[in-house]
């Protein structure tokens, strides 16, 4: 089990300028915000289940940019059908990273399906991802960091992280219009 915040920080350290990052609501948004206030970040604060389709649309619209989605097990479990849609389109510039802490962290730590018998890597493979991996050790993060930056093929990674009570770190704005305007400028630049 990894610590989520240093993991995201490591994955994004000295990131290339063509890398756009999207975070699903809850802990991933606080993690991405803690890793730096960057115009190429878009942080969901609501609309659960929508971070994965948003990232796919972005990847289709900006094939020259690299897109990484950081989202939680709870968020991806709400939009499992998206795994099939993403896998069938297979955009080469998209990397889906689930930070799987096996709980609904924002609502009191109730267990998700991954605390039980559900395996998201198997589900991604079954959906059609030809590249999918589980990451649970620090030594495996380096490969994921390389995939996010350099691999020219769709990838899914399920990063097993601790369930931790961490201080919230807010994105630069809670206002959606302010956030999307800055992000869009960075995305189309």
């Amino acid at each position: 089990m990894l610590k989520r915040r240093p993991s995201i920080k490591y994955l994004l350290e000295d990131r290339p300028s063509d890398l756009l990052a999207v975070s699903g609501l809850g802990s991933c948004t606080w993690d991405l915000s803690a890793a730096g206030n960057v115009p190429g970040n878009f942080c969901f604060i609501g609309a659960m289940g929508q971070a994965a389709p948003f990232s796919l649309g972005l990847a289709l619209a900006q094939p020259q940019k690299r897109i990484v989605l950081f989202t939680g097990d709870g968020d991806i479990l709400m939009s499992l059908g998206m795994l099939t849609t993403i896998a069938n389109l297979a955009p080469a510039n998209l990397c889906v990273v689930v930070l799987d802490n096996e709980v609904y962290g924002e609502t009191g730590g109730q267990p998700t399906a991954t605390a039980g018998c559900t395996d998201l890597v198997s589900m991604a493979r079954g959906a059609g991802f030809s590249s999918a991996s589980e990451v649970s050790r620090e030594s495996e993060l380096q490969e994921l960091r390389d995939i996010i930056r350099n691999r020219n093929a769709l990838h899914f990674s399920n990063v097993k992280v601790l369930s931790e009570a961490l201080p919230l770190v807010f994105p630069f704005s809670f206002d959606g219009v302010t956030s999307i305007n800055r992000f869009r400028d960075a995305a189309v630049a």
Binding site: Q50, P53, A59, T85, S179, R184, V188
Partner: protein, 176 residues
């Protein structure tokens, strides 16, 4: 060619989409959009994305717009119910969203299970702040879709065109 009142209104919608530089068409398949889907699938400048649930089309088109690309969501009225919380995304961020809805559960409906969501569709969309453009007549289709697209993309609003069951023709079911 599928026509109503002698007008190929599916082709009229397609022309507007091309004129608006729509390059992503997302949908959960519906017979009411059948001829339009075929045109979109065959168009070189359009990517047709088949979804497993209509809500995914909302997020996908918002991400595409953030990347500088325009799209449209084609769905049946029953799919509108699946999009409700997803509509928070374009509403909160004022991202333009254009959807074209083929109506069921109204004019001449045969299937009782279509009634609740068909009748609920305008109210659900209005409750989420979506501007509604309803079409009953074939000759109104092109201009109305154009008007909805202009409102959506120029003023950054969510707009829904409702193609009435009177326009599409009520689906008839026969055993055997």
């Amino acid at each position: 060619m599928a026509t109503t009142q002698g007008i190929d209104w599916h082709a009229d919608i397609f022309s507007v989409l091309v004129g608006q530089n729509i390059s992503i068409v997302t949908h959960v398949p519906d017979a009411g959009h059948g001829p339009l889907l075929k045109m979109c699938d065959e168009a070189p400048g359009i990517k047709l994305v088949t979804l497993t649930s209509e809500q995914d089309g909302v997020g996908l088109l918002c991400g595409a717009w953030a990347g500088g690309t325009k799209g449209v969501l084609l769905m049946q009225s029953s799919g509108v119910g699946n999009t409700v919380n997803a509509l928070s995304l374009p509403a909160s961020c004022r991202i333009p969203l254009l959807t074209i809805v083929s109506m069921r559960g109204e004019w001449g409906e045969f299937v009782p299970w279509q009634i609740p969501m068909g009748q609920g569709t305008p109210g659900v969309l209005e409750a989420m702040g979506v501007r509604i453009f309803r079409i009953n007549e074939a000759h109104e289709v092109g201009a109305t879709v154009e008007a909805a697209a202009n409102l959506a993309f120029n003023t950054r609003q969510s707009a829904a065109v409702l193609l009435s069951q009177k326009l599409i023709g009520a689906k008839q079911f026969k055993e055997g």
